[in-house]
């Protein structure tokens, strides 16, 4: 089944994966850890992510139309590959369930107060199941359309937030003594950048030639500017001390602003909600797809749609398990460290093996 995507679609898949739930509490994490100088730690985090992304793209580029399952089998043999696969599957599955649960929790607490959580995640599971059984190319097309809509909506919202915010809240931009603090705080700023490892399951085709590196790095840089724009606009409106109190910092800021210029849509939460739910949808579909593809690699016999039904159904059950909001938050914190392993360590191992054994020269 040829799942080849154009470079542009791969870039927008990365946009779809990264921009999702992480955006909602990004201003709070940044303000809490690094204060107003948070933009610097974001840049550092982007640099690290670009390095990891380069490695993963290089692997996919070298092993044309192979996913991680195939080329890690070639590099490290069957047994280790199975371990890697289990790690990845569990990671994607956990990500899929917990992000669905935390998004439904946030939606329940912000706009649909009396709707029970299980109904919200049921509707989510329906639409995700429908999207996943259509395979990667359709998901990529949907991400492309939604990516553009989200960028336009975000530009509109955040420029208007800047006009309402006060510059003084953004200062001090950079405090020399806090430099070690900025480096330390990049650690708990991984969650918004989790998702790069999805590239491992996208097989590159011949048409994804040299320019794919340029596309991906350009997209990650654009995402990091997107994050910095969000953080700075929220801090400019709310001020560093206030924003740390809100887990849904971005939504709280948007509910606080009233732009008399746009007459009818002077309250921005309408546009924001639509754009944010679209972003959540893209993230969850791709994480779920990741889990299903790798599972289908392990269980070749079972038909893809049946596997998809099982994963979505299990995901729905698991997402109802945690009872309180804080449990879900704790799981998401562990996820970011787990993500380091998945995004960082395993690709670096495979990368070094390729370099050491010079497979890349042979494959050319």
């Amino acid at each position: 089944m040829n799942e080849s995507l154009t470079n542009r679609q791969i870039a927008f898949i990365i946009f779809g994966v990264l921009i999702g739930y992480g955006v909602m509490e990004l201003p709070k994490n940044v303000a809490e850890n690094a204060g107003t100088g948070g933009w610097l730690s974001l840049l550092i985090a982007t640099a690290i992510t670009i390095i990891f992304a380069y490695m993963i793209t290089y692997l996919s580029y070298v092993y044309k139309n192979k996913t991680i399952y195939e080329y890690s089998e070639r590099l490290t043999g069957k047994f280790i590959t199975h371990i890697f696969m289990i790690i990845y599957i569990f990671y994607y599955f956990l990500g899929f369930t917990m992000i669905t649960r935390v998004s439904c929790e946030t939606i329940k607490l912000t706009i649909l107060l009396k709707t029970p959580i299980w109904v919200l995640s049921l509707l989510f599971s329906f639409v995700i199941y429908y999207a996943v059984i259509k395979r990667l190319r359709v998901i990529a097309r949907v991400c492309e359309i939604y990516g553009i809509f989200i960028i336009i909506a975000a530009l509109l919202i955040h420029t208007s937030l800047f006009t309402q915010g006060k510059l003084i809240n953004l200062r001090p931009f950079f405090v020399l003594e806090d430099l070690p603090l900025y480096f330390k705080s990049t650690l708990n700023m991984i969650f918004p950048f989790l998702g790069i490892e999805i590239l491992t399951i996208i097989p590159f085709a011949k048409k994804n030639h040299k320019k794919v590196f340029k596309y991906i790095t350009l997209m990650i840089v654009c995402i990091s500017f997107f994050y910095i724009m969000i953080v700075e606009s929220c801090i400019s409106v709310m001020g560093v001390d206030e924003i740390v109190h809100y887990n849904d910092a971005l939504y709280a800021t948007i509910r606080r602003v009233d732009i008399p210029a746009f007459q009818v849509i002077r309250r921005l939460d309408g546009i924001f909600l639509i754009a944010w739910i679209m972003a959540i949808f893209c993230t969850i579909t791709i994480w779920c797809y990741g889990a299903i593809v790798l599972l289908s690699k392990l269980f070749k016999k079972i038909h893809f749609n049946l596997l998809a039904f099982i994963v979505v159904f299990m995901g729905y059950i698991v997402s109802q398990m945690p009872t309180t909001y804080d449990q879900v938050k704790k799981v998401l914190d562990y996820m970011s460290y787990y993500g380091l392993v998945v995004m960082g360590i395993i690709p670096t191992i495979l990368f070094f093996i390729t370099k050491v054994k010079k497979y890349d020269k042979k494959m050319q």
């Binding site: 154009t6 706009i111 649909l112 492309e144 939604y146 009818v264 909600l273 639509i274 949808f281």
Partner: protein
């Protein structure tokens, strides 16, 4: 030698009993008889008598006529051929041809004397445009093919003919330009047309149902075209035009989603108007699908999205309304759909009046009786008007159905349901393919060039043909 002749004579005998509606005309010339078999309703009496009976009788007076002599030098008709297979006689006669048999000849002559009433080429009814040629397709196949042929005088224009339907034997012509159209598409269409095994084909709609790759797809994959110039435009672009005998709407295959919104006269008007009308049509499509659902979301779920003055205005206008917003929207949409259906079904003189009068009177009375809020009447009529905007009305049918789905899901989950309902539609659109081409082509697998050409739809800027069609001859200029 005599065996073939005996079979012919039997055939004549069976026909002459008059059971099959076939009339037999006997001519005695010198030493033998000549029989002319034809169907009264399908043949042009004048041609039959002037160019067949008269010359045979005149020449038959003094010279010995053999079948070959008659064939070559007696009959004046242009489309004439010889055959000797006796069971093909029936088919020829049913096709409106007349058969000439000599009493002792082994072969018979087939002369095309078909004449059926046909409508004159008139202005388009379905796809009316402000600027653009008036000659639209009619039910007659030859007129349609002639309309295309005189516009595209390209030697490589191909018109492959198919006969479909065991009983109706309708002629279906697939028209394309050989060195432009993509080989794969041509073969795919031909394969599907050959596979059709049905007793009768009466309208191009039948064919459309068969060439869909999945009957449960919501959105149409073949566009209908009534204006011959739009048909030629599509053929030049590399598409295939399927003309069905007896139907005035030809099919254009393969067709992607946004091409349904592209009318012919965008290409003739100036650039800015084309861009403006494209944007207008897209936003109208959006309004038709989402406006009522957004009304429900705003009035009943998150009404603090609107500024205070608007909330108070809506609330005061809705006070006397007994229904809740959800039922009110469903009722109003149902009324507008009933009005639309009534205005189509009613005879022409009554129809147009009813739809306008109906919408206004019912709306006004409903507001006066306090059953519907005035805002709702505006929204319902606006979304009804918006659904007439598309050039090819077939794209609007699924939109009308999906509008109800969006209202239901928004009625239950508010903006959350609205977004997921919208996502559901987008996934459905992106996953559909029309003959292998992604249905949402220039937008989903994004191609800036195609999209620019589509929006500008300006002939001299458009150097290349749309990439997703991957035609053989790529450049236009």
């Amino acid at each position: 030698m005599k065996r073939k002749n005996k079979l012919f004579v039997e055939k004549i005998k069976t026909f002459s009993e008059g059971k099959f509606g076939v009339s037999v005309r006997k001519l005695t010339i010198l030493n033998e008889e000549a029989f002319i078999l034809y169907i009264q309703e399908l043949t042009d009496g004048k041609i039959l008598s002037d160019s067949i009976i008269k010359p045979i009788l005149q020449n038959g007076k003094d010279t010995m006529l053999t079948i070959d002599k008659i064939f070559s030098s007696v009959i004046y008709i242009d489309d004439i051929s010889m055959d000797d297979d006796e069971n093909k006689i029936e088919d020829y006669i049913l096709k409106g041809k007349s058969i000439i048999i000599l009493s002792n000849s082994e072969k018979y002559i087939i002369a095309n004397t078909l004449k059926i009433e046909k409508r004159a080429v008139s202005a388009p009814q379905v796809e009316t445009t402000l600027r653009g040629p008036r000659d639209s397709f009619t039910e007659n196949m030859d007129t349609n093919l002639s309309l295309i042929r005189y516009r595209i005088k390209d030697p490589s224009l191909r018109m492959d003919n198919f006969v479909i339907g065991r009983r109706t034997k309708t002629n279906v012509a697939v028209v394309y330009i050989e060195d432009i159209a993509n080989k794969k598409h041509v073969d795919e269409v031909k394969k599907r047309l050959d596979e059709i095994d049905i007793d009768g084909v009466l309208e191009s709609g039948y064919i459309q149902k068969f060439i869909l790759n999945n009957t449960f797809d919501l959105f149409p994959q073949a566009g209908i075209v009534e204006q011959s110039d739009t048909a030629c435009q599509n053929i030049l672009e590399g598409k295939l035009c399927i003309i069905v005998e007896g139907s005035n709407l030809a099919l254009v295959v393969p067709k992607t989603f946004i091409e349904f919104l592209d009318t012919g006269d965008d290409h003739y008007e100036n650039l800015y108007l084309a861009i403006f009308s494209k944007m207008l049509r897209f936003s109208a499509l959006g309004i038709a699908l989402t406006l009522s659902a957004l009304y429900v979301a705003v009035v009943s779920f998150h009404s603090d999205i609107l500024p205070p003055q608007y909330i108070l205005a809506i609330a005061t206008s809705r006070v006397t309304v007994p229904f809740n917003a959800f039922l009110e929207v469903i009722a109003m949409e149902f009324i507008t759909e009933v009005l639309r259906e009534a205005s189509i079904r009613l005879p022409q003189q009554v129809g147009a009046a009813i739809s306008i009068v109906g919408a206004i009177v019912i709306g006004q009375a409903a507001v006066a009786a306090g059953l519907i809020s005035p805002l709702m009447v505006i929204i319902a009529s606006l979304s009804m008007m918006c659904s007439f905007v598309a050039a090819d009305y077939t794209i609007m049918n699924p939109i009308r159905i999906l509008k109800f789905m969006m209202i239901f899901i928004t009625g239950i989950f508010g903006i959350f349901g609205f977004t997921l309902g919208f996502t559901f539609i987008i996934i459905n659109l992106c996953s559909q393919t029309s003959f292998g081409i992604p249905y949402f082509a220039p937008i989903a697998p994004f191609n800036f060039q195609d999209l620019k050409n589509y929006i500008f739809s300006d002939v001299n800027l458009e150097r290349k043909r749309p990439k997703f069609l991957n035609t053989i001859d790529k450049t236009r200029k």
